[in-house]
């Protein structure tokens, strides 16, 4: 019956388009330089410039020598390019008693970030999976507590955590800081993973159960292979969050374990001697390089994962 209807409609269509009549036909023409385009692109370019200008100033300044900086043209490109400030920032700048530059802080930050990211994501993904698929007793209560945890200001918890870490005997060590980062990443990461797993078709989980797969088999064989985007999102959130952390780094560690951000602050804010703007700029860029790289490498996956994990569920 449907077929008959289609045929007769096609016939009617053919009859109508037989003769060519004057008037608009085909694709509607669009002007490239229309008012609308000018406004859209103009705004976009302005905003992009606004965001890029500080970065430009930093890079330009970091490549100048001090005499050139004193002239005061911050927007002018360097007359004489020098990498001296970069070397100094990395290897020679003084913080407190040490004069081995940011390199020490860089390696500290790596030693803090890598384990924190891996441990927190591993635990949070299992949490999220359990909350989304295995409706265990008290799951809702557990989830509510986690979410509330995400909204408590960090400042409130600093002193109690200092005491807890001291009692555990890990205050001032890298281990202590890693534990703190892992715990504080838990609410938001669990929420992220729970929403992602809840967005996956429930029947997939049921089918795996009928197939006899248990908690861990389903997690590793079914869920993990489908979850690359959300793992990338979690990784980016954690890497940038932990790398950029200043407060926990300065509160929970000793100077020899200070992460890069704390060291950067000590270099930039040192009050002795001349302000070496070029070294400060180079140090700042060096510190920001890791999150920047992570964004560039995984930006596409990040957008995909955010779209899949945060909007759905």
């Amino acid at each position: 019956m449907d077929n008959i209807a289609n045929h007769s409609m096609a016939a009617a269509h053919a009859a109508a388009s037989g003769g060519s009549v004057a008037g608009p036909r085909g694709r509607k023409p669009r002007r490239t330089l229309s008012r609308r385009n000018m406004i859209v692109y103009g705004t976009l370019i302005l905003v992009a410039l606004y965001y890029l200008l500080p970065l430009y100033v930093m890079i330009v300044t970091s490549l100048k020598g001090m005499p050139e900086i004193r002239v005061g043209n911050i927007f002018a490109p360097p007359l004489e390019i020098t990498f001296e400030p970069w070397v100094k920032a990395w290897a020679e700048a003084c913080t407190g008693l040490n004069c081995d530059g940011l390199s020490r802080g860089f390696w500290n930050s790596v030693r803090i970030t890598v384990p924190s990211v891996i441990i927190s994501i591993a635990i949070a993904s299992v949490n999220g999976y359990a909350l989304a698929n295995w409706r265990f007793k008290g799951a809702d209560l557990f989830f509510t507590i986690l979410i509330v945890g995400a909204f408590i200001p960090y400042q409130v918890m600093i002193y109690p955590i200092v005491i807890v870490l001291r009692e555990m005997g890990v205050y001032g060590t890298l281990t202590g800081l890693i534990i703190v980062h892992t715990i504080f990443g838990m609410p938001i990461l669990t929420l992220l993973f729970r929403n992602y797993f809840a967005g996956l078709p429930e029947e997939l989980f049921k089918a795996a159960r009928v197939d006899g797969a248990g908690f861990w088999t389903i997690y590793f064989k079914i869920m993990l292979p489908m979850s690359l985007p959300i793992f990338v999102v979690a990784m980016i959130l954690q890497v940038t969050g932990i790398w950029n952390d200043f407060l926990f780094g300065v509160v929970f560690t000793r100077p020899e374990y200070y992460p890069m951000t704390v060291q950067l602050n000590n270099i930039v804010n040192s009050v002795q001697g001349v302000k070496e703007y070029n070294v400060n700029m180079a140090a700042t860029i060096l510190t920001g390089l890791v999150p920047l790289t992570v964004y560039f490498v995984s930006g596409r996956l990040f957008v995909r994962g955010i779209a899949a994990g945060a909007v759905k569920g």
Partner: protein
Amino acid sequence: MTSVSVRDLSLNFGAVTVLDRLNLDIDHGEFLVLLGSSGCGKSTLLNCIAGLLDVSDGQIFIKDRNVTWEEPKDRGIGMVFQSYALYPQMTVEKNLSFGLKVAKIPPAEIDKRVKRASEILQIQPLLKRKPSELSGGQRQRVAIGRALVRDVDVFLFDEPLSNLDAKLRSELRVEIKRLHQSLKNTMIYVTHDQIEALTLADRIAVMKSGVIQQLADPMTIYNAPENLFVAGFIGSPSMNFFRGEVEAKDGRSFVRVGGTAFDVTDYPAHTRLQPGQKVVLGLRPEHVKVDESSGGEPAHQAVVDIEEPMGADNLLWLTFAGQSMSVRIAGQRRYPPGSTVRLSFDMGVASIFDAESENRL
């Protein structure tokens, strides 16, 4: 000896009762269809049988073994889902063998079973492909294959054809029926599509708000619905209902609807129709005859409002006894709107329900 037996099954989600003391016995090799509109508890019942939902009360037996507390994998069931639920990162072959690998079945045996299933379902050329590279019909075939390799006695289908387009749906419907005829497994099939139910089932259980309204073979369900709900739910277009009152006159019984009297003397009633009783008379569109010649019996006249030619048959919408009714006639017989037709009724296949209890009389 039954294949699947559900005893006094109840299921509550908090204060909401989805199933209430439900009983159901399914024979070996039987094809049972659970039919109902969405939210009637048919999928819930299937999930309970599969062990994917914990029951609140009652028992479930599969092959005379109490499986009420067993895990899905230990119940001897295979399940096919509406959304196919194929593991997207695995090839068809891995999809089929996943459950067997989890069960630690020897590789040679796995190969044998995958080969057999893919032959039965004709999916051998697809074994190396990922689900994303398959069409909807092929995906559903693989999903059926995944139940097939498990070598189980009971197949559970949860609206397996609802995601397919009309043409594929009718093709796969035939294939499922063929599969059942060759395998002779017990199959429990959930659907909201009455055509699927009528064509596939040995017996249909029509459900409404967690209660089985009627459990019978398709022809009984269609021709002798047990109550008003079943009568209205099965059949498209729906059965014509006339609310009226029983009358006795000259040794014959009538149902009087406004100014029209239907002669129901030939109606095979379970109990005697009491004069004065309020009843609902149900007539299927195809059980009404449209005559052109003026016969011997007193004729009922009606005016055609709308004509819906469907090719094989022709559906007339008439105004009769003060309400709209539909009549199905052969496709080549045409009556333009406005024409007057004469109707006669076959009371041997009509249905009469008590207006109050809504049960068949």
